[in-house]
Amino acid sequence: MHPRTQLAKIWDAHVVADLGDNAYLLHVDRHLLHDLGGSRGLLDLRERGLPVHSPHLTFATPDHAISSAPGRSGTSSVGRELLAALREETAAAGIRLFDVDEPGQGIVHVMGPELGLSLPGCLIVCGDSHTCTHGGLGALAFGVGSSELAHVLATQTIVQRRPKAMRVNFEGSMPIGVTPKDLILRLIGVIGAAGGTGYAVEYAGSAVRALDLEGRLTICNLSIELGAKMGFMAPDDTTFAYLAGRPFAPKGHMWERAVADWRQLPSDPGAQFDRELTLNVASIAPQVTWGTSPEHVIAVDQSIPDPATIADPSRRGGIEAALDYMGLKPNQPILGTKVDWVFIGSCTNSRLSDLRAAAAVVRGRKVAAGVRAWVVPGSEQIKRDAVAEGLDRVFTGAGFQWREPGCSMCLAANGETVPRGERSISTSNRNFVGRQGAGARTHLASPAMAAAAAIAGVITDVRRMGIA
């Protein structure tokens, strides 16, 4: 048989109807709802007099608009309304809700894999662009808008155009101090924030094979920052070991059958890609962004670029505007840039391995004077696991705030913002203008780099912090 890509295999297995002109009606295996748009979608359906087609394939949790303050005490009135509406509408539709303070609650892209709801070979959608995260398990997962969300609720299908296939090979072994976040930020720096537009990206290579599952989720999470709606990896024994025994993963005989099926998913040898590139991981240094697009990224020991050297006027203008917004000067080292806020959290980097990596830097040290540092675990389960191994005390002992799980300051939908003009180093995924609050200045980096900056009070090279 003609060698096929993993994209083709999963895509073809979900085609309900070929609509022509490269458009397909695809079955959705998992639809994840959150508090920002979930109840609105359910209300839209109700107003049209339509039932939810497959409530048993739909799951919900609050994450965006709830406060991360202890006791959720800071949830705004609109956040409380959205939570109440999500409870009411999911109950009415027969949709399973993982509510605040319950195991299972968490950032939707953290809890899906954690519960074993997200599985290899599944087609997963959610009204959130970082749905690509679930690709780390070998799923085809992507974000949708409100209209598409309502379409999925009503029909359990979605109309999609088949993307082109790109393969990115990360080869070699990661140097000490370099993390999955650095690999994907480097890739975005190389091919740009639109480099993946129109593609589904498959991440492969020896460095990916060697990664744990949580690191794979981090890489796939930033696919959308490449412009790619979906990014994924081949499922393998690491994937199966991660999923085995999770609450919603198949069990017993069904597990054996599922794994046998999942082993057929990886791209066949000789499968053709529309674009393929390889990055040598050994030459990658810890990355940090300096501007207002994730493509505005450099190695921590590099200098801020000079727009005067850019010939293309719209690109030059973009860089000038970014430097102005960020309050930075060209040709200066990024090292030593003073930070006011440190945010460790988000669907990119809030999993247990991320918190461990940050804690390893923080242990026995203190947050620098004048720096406000937060840790927001990605889920209730991660919070409990971290507490069980004492990570919360490592952070609070150093002067961090240890908070309740949710999206929090990644996008500030719950009102948790970085004040205007203040500078944040953040383990999240977007350094956009106003993303963490109007006028807030965001530098993206790995958990270890963010932790190092919290201690030093300035952007610093985690490789010089004496952490093995």
Binding site: S146, E148, Q156, R161
Partner: protein, 206 residues
């Protein structure tokens, strides 16, 4: 869905690259189930207003004749980032019905078609020459887009063919409702699920 057929209007060039949907509509203005309908005033907030809330006279949409422009000429990767459909709602509430650019964020591009807003993709050189023409006329030169004829007419009168996927074109021309169309395929969806349940029972059963 509101139809889109033909439009002749003022076009405002906003050529900065990577304008993301957080810039188009900040999260603080779109949280809540009742936010839709009041988004237009907050479209492009960070560019349109100064920190004290006053209008930024430098921003093109605050200047005559671009204020109220129904067409935007956009830079590379416009609409990247968040899947928030509120970005399209905000643009539409502000009066924008058509965007002309060399590339768009994938999810934003989809969301436009769901709301009767037409994104037109042209090569970058053409997009930039349209912007230059409009700027040379100080905005007086209108752009005309005809979805039925699949043409775009520059202020100079020069006509360019445009490409819009046939099904999306038909949906815009007729104002079709995608949910209603798919529901006509309910038997095919039921058959798919029944067969798939045999093939991949773990997806359906726990």
């Amino acid at each position: 869905m509101e139809k889109f057929t033909q439009l002749t209007a003022v076009a405002a060039p906003i050529l900065r690259e990577n304008i993301d949907t957080d810039i188009v509509i900040p999260i603080s203005r779109m949280v809540g189930n009742e936010a839709r309908g009041s988004l237009g005033q907050w479209c492009f907030s960070a560019l349109r207003y100064r920190p004290d809330g006053s209008e930024n006279p430098e921003f093109i949409l605050n200047r005559a004749p671009y204020r109220g422009a129904q067409i935007l000429i956009t830079g590379v990767n416009f609409g990247c980032g968040s899947s928030r459909e509120a970005a399209v709602w905000a643009l539409k509430e502000m009066g924008v019905r058509c965007l002309i650019g060399s590339s768009f964020g994938d999810i934003f591009f989809n969301n436009c078609f769901q709301n009767g807003v037409l994104p037109v993709v042209l090569d970058r050189a053409t997009v930039e020459s349209l912007a230059r023409e409009v700027e040379a006329s100080q905005g007086a030169g209108h752009i005309s887009v005809d979805l039925a004829e699949l043409t775009l007419t520059a202020p100079s009168g020069k006509r360019y063919p445009i490409t819009v996927e046939p099904q999306r074109r038909q949906a815009l021309l007729e104002g079709l409702d995608e949910i209603a169309i798919t529901l006509q395929r309910a038997p095919a969806i039921a058959a798919f699920q029944e067969e798939d349940r045999q093939r991949r029972p773990w997806v359906y059963e726990r």
